[in-house]
């Protein structure tokens, strides 16, 4: 027993959840900068419905980790005023679909305050939104709402796919002088990886994608909750003789076009994978850009594997909606491999 306890407190990487990494990111940001204030519904004593703000009110006081009245427009609207006065609010929207009442503040003020004041009034605020499905949540608890945010100029939109990125990206978001919609894949909150909370990795600024798994025959472009799905698909694809590269965007806005383009030019094939509905979703934009910039390198049209164009389904049916390993592999199989073989013969 004693040895176990010692091992647990020893420094170095150890199993940690994405939830823990996010909490740690806020804690470290608050310790480093007294301007950082966390606010939202139930974020104080309870630590948030997902416990992501756990311990912050105890450590920093309720003035810095504040339970607000239950009104999302009011939460974001007051955060705007706090940012105008030089604070760095970190706002929690309790669930993706509960963030919609705040949409007017987001679109009409948060996203354009810097622009409408010609740089005089930046909006250094972070809006954390647990998003995506796969947790068995009932209606309004499983939306992938990223397309609303990426369609709004002036916002940055980040989403982590790993435990380490959860920390690094959230620190970068809070440090940013521009507003960041920080989408937390709630399905990955309890995913684990070896991670060192004492020496957490930072990210090289906002807007850099990362090649999560190198490969040579096709590229899976993905983000957030679909990152583990694509990594699993890439492993399974080896049996078929496909060596898939997985690019984790990490940031939808800014979009790291160069990393994605370089990968697809190298592999010649691409599938974009996300949970959000496909029509007018981020995948359409990415596929269009790949068409514009990789046309002469492509062996097949860029395909998309996305959620269906339906309101988020009830939990008993959500597995049919969410892009899974099989659907990703099926798309990969349709990347015109046959054509390449017959051409030579």
């Amino acid at each position: 027993m004693t040895t176990t306890a010692v091992a647990r407190t020893a420094a170095g990487p150890r199993p940690a959840t994405m939830a823990q990494a996010l909490t740690r990111a806020m804690r470290d940001a608050m310790a480093a900068d007294p301007a950082v204030h966390v606010m939202g519904e139930d974020v104080g004593q309870l630590g948030g419905v997902f416990r992501i703000t756990q311990g912050l009110a105890d450590e920093f006081g309720e003035d810095r980790c504040t339970d607000t009245p239950l009104a999302e427009a009011g939460i974001l609207g007051t955060a705007v005023g706090m940012a105008m006065y030089g604070l760095r609010p970190v706002v929690e929207m309790q669930f993706d679909a509960f963030g919609y009442p705040a949409f007017e503040q987001l679109v009409s003020h948060v996203s354009r305050m810097r622009n409408r004041t010609r740089g005089a009034t930046p909006m250094p605020l972070t809006i954390r939104v647990p998003y995506g499905g796969g947790i068995g949540g009932v209606e309004h608890h499983g939306d992938s709402s990223e397309a609303y945010y990426t369609a709004t100029p002036g916002l940055h939109v980040l989403t982590p796919g790993t435990v380490a990125d959860a920390y690094g990206l959230l620190r970068a978001a809070i440090a940013s002088d521009d507003p960041v919609v920080f989408l937390e894949p709630k399905r990955l909150y309890w995913s684990k990886a070896d991670w060192d909370p004492e020496q957490p990795e930072r990210v090289p600024g906002i807007g850099r994608a990362v090649v999560r798994r190198p490969g040579t025959t096709a590229t899976l472009v993905t983000y957030g909750p679909s990152v583990p799905v694509c990594l699993e698909a890439a492993e399974a694809a080896r049996e078929e003789g496909w060596d898939l590269e997985v690019v984790d965007l990490r940031s939808l806005v800014p979009f790291d076009e160069e990393t994605v383009v370089a990968s697809v030019r190298r592999t010649g094939r691409a599938v974009v994978v996300h949970e959000a509905p496909g029509f007018a979703g981020p995948g359409g934009e990415i596929a269009a850009r790949l068409g514009e910039r990789c046309f002469h390198y492509l062996e097949a049209p860029v395909l998309r594997v996305t959620g269906f164009d339906i309101p988020y389904p009830p939990p008993m049916l959500e597995r049919h909606h969410l892009p899974g390993v099989d659907r990703v592999l099926d798309a990969v199989s349709r990347l015109q491999w046959e054509a390449e073989w017959t051409e030579g013969g």
């Binding site: 204030h37 003035d63 607000t68 009245p69 009104a71 427009a73 009011g74 974001l76 609207g77 007051t78 955060a79 705007v80 005023g81 706090m82 940012a83 105008m84 006065y85 030089g86 604070l87 609010p89 009442p101 007017e104 503040q105 009409s108 003020h109 354009r112 305050m113 810097r114 622009n115 409408r116 004041t117 010609r118 740089g119 005089a120 009034t121 930046p122 100029p153 002036g154 940055h156 940013s176 002088d177 521009d178 807007g207 806005v253 800014p254 979009f255 076009e257 160069e258």
Partner: protein, 385 residues
């Protein structure tokens, strides 16, 4: 046997005693009639210097409204929502604040912005169609003019809270119209302000109309000031054309906020003498017989009567006030008749602190288009636009 009759079991027909109203509502209620000073005995207690200052500001304010309206007809302003008839509210709002306090105006409140000391050309930048905000909010402690109704109110609450958290003595005064009180943001802002006891004053200019919709179609509340009670803050009702009454009520509300007493909701009862904007036609929804009584209750005339009645204003004084107003109008004409110079490439400059790769590409595209325009069009000394 019913639950009621179960032996040994207490039945509570009322909620447990832990529940009780937290605040006595009575002191929060507004007076039945709007507070007035001009034309009453109280007016004589007001300092002559203040009255003369307010008079000068009202005369200038009226002229500002006229000039801005004229400029829309000349195509120099894209649109102008006039505050003719509401000058007392505009002037009193600006003057109730100390230098460190913040003003949160709606799109109709450019006169309040000017009364607080911003150059009229800067204040009218949005309405001219030249960028969205013409002044530095932090420099003047005035938020950008806000077009989406009532959405600036939560900003005022957040800023006031932030200042208090930092230990700064700052009050925020937020302006909204009667129509704006129907918006959800009005409700949320008042609720947050009251819960946080934030140092905020909400000034509702009830000018009778939201474009064409009269107050009766907007609310069934006894008055807009009554709405305060539901949030646990005092509601004050004031004659919005009586600049001295406004000055008293707003100054008191600012003092209360400053002293930690929390927010106040002030309803100023006034009237929008002009149409909603130059693009509106008020004859489609109201009659002159409705407007006429308000002409007799004009904010400038009310104060003028008080001043002349007490011998505080002679013809020379009135002429001096008019001359100052004319000077402002002449300056507005001269500078707003000059074409604004905008750099189209600025479209990309302030979207983010650092432009994205995609924005840089779009900026290059625009630069190339501008270059091509220059090549194609022979220079004609700027005559040909």
């Amino acid at each position: 046997m019913t639950v009621l009759e179960q032996p040994g079991r207490a039945y509570h027909p009322a909620p447990p005693p832990a529940w009780k109203p937290r605040t006595d509502a009575a002191p929060l209620l507004p007076d039945p009639e709007p507070h007035r000073v001009l034309g009453t005995a109280a007016a004589e207690k007001t300092e002559a210097g203040l009255l003369r200052e307010l008079y000068g500001a009202l005369v200038t304010g009226r002229r500002y409204n006229e000039q801005a309206t004229t400029l829309t007809k000349q195509g120099r302003l894209a649109v102008y929502p006039s505050t003719t008839g509401q000058e007392a509210c505009q002037v009193a709002a600006a003057r109730a604040l100390r230098p460190q306090d913040w003003l949160f105006p709606s799109y109709r409140d450019t006169l309040a912005v000017v009364a607080r000391g911003v150059d009229p050309v800067q204040a009218l930048t949005l309405l001219r169609g030249d960028w969205h905000t013409g002044y530095d909010p932090a420099e003047h402690r005035i938020a950008p003019l806000c077009t989406p109704l009532a959405t600036q109110l939560p900003h005022a609450v957040g800023l006031a809270r932030a200042a208090r958290l930092k230990g700064d003595d700052v009050v925020a005064l937020a302006m909204v119209g009667d129509g704006g009180t129907s918006e959800g943001d009005f409700h949320e802002a008042l609720n947050f302000a009251a819960v946080w006891r934030a140092p905020v004053v909400f000034l509702v200019q009830n000018n009778g109309y939201a474009i064409s919709v009269p107050l009766a179609k907007q609310t069934a509340a006894p008055s807009l000031a009554h709405k305060a009670v539901g949030y646990g803050m005092p509601g004050r009702l004031v004659d919005g054309n009586d600049v001295v009454a406004l000055h008293d009520v707003l100054t008191e509300a600012v003092e209360r906020a400053r002293g930690g007493g929390g927010p106040t909701l002030v309803e100023a009862v006034t009237y929008r003498m002009d149409a909603h904007t130059n693009a509106d036609d008020a004859t489609r929804y109201r009659t002159d017989s409705e407007v006429e009584p308000w002409r007799a209750h004009d904010p400038v005339a009310l104060l003028e009567r008080e001043l002349t009645g007490r011998g505080l204003l002679d013809e020379a004084g009135a002429a001096a006030a008019r001359a100052a107003a004319e000077e402002l109008a002449a300056d507005m004409r001269e500078r707003l008749h000059a074409d604004a110079e905008l750099d189209p490439v600025d479209l990309f400059t302030h979207v983010y602190a650092e432009p994205t790769q995609q924005l840089r590409a779009q900026e290059s595209l625009l630069r190339a288009e501008l270059e091509a325009e220059l090549q194609a069009e022979p220079q004609t000394g700027g005559e040909y636009r």
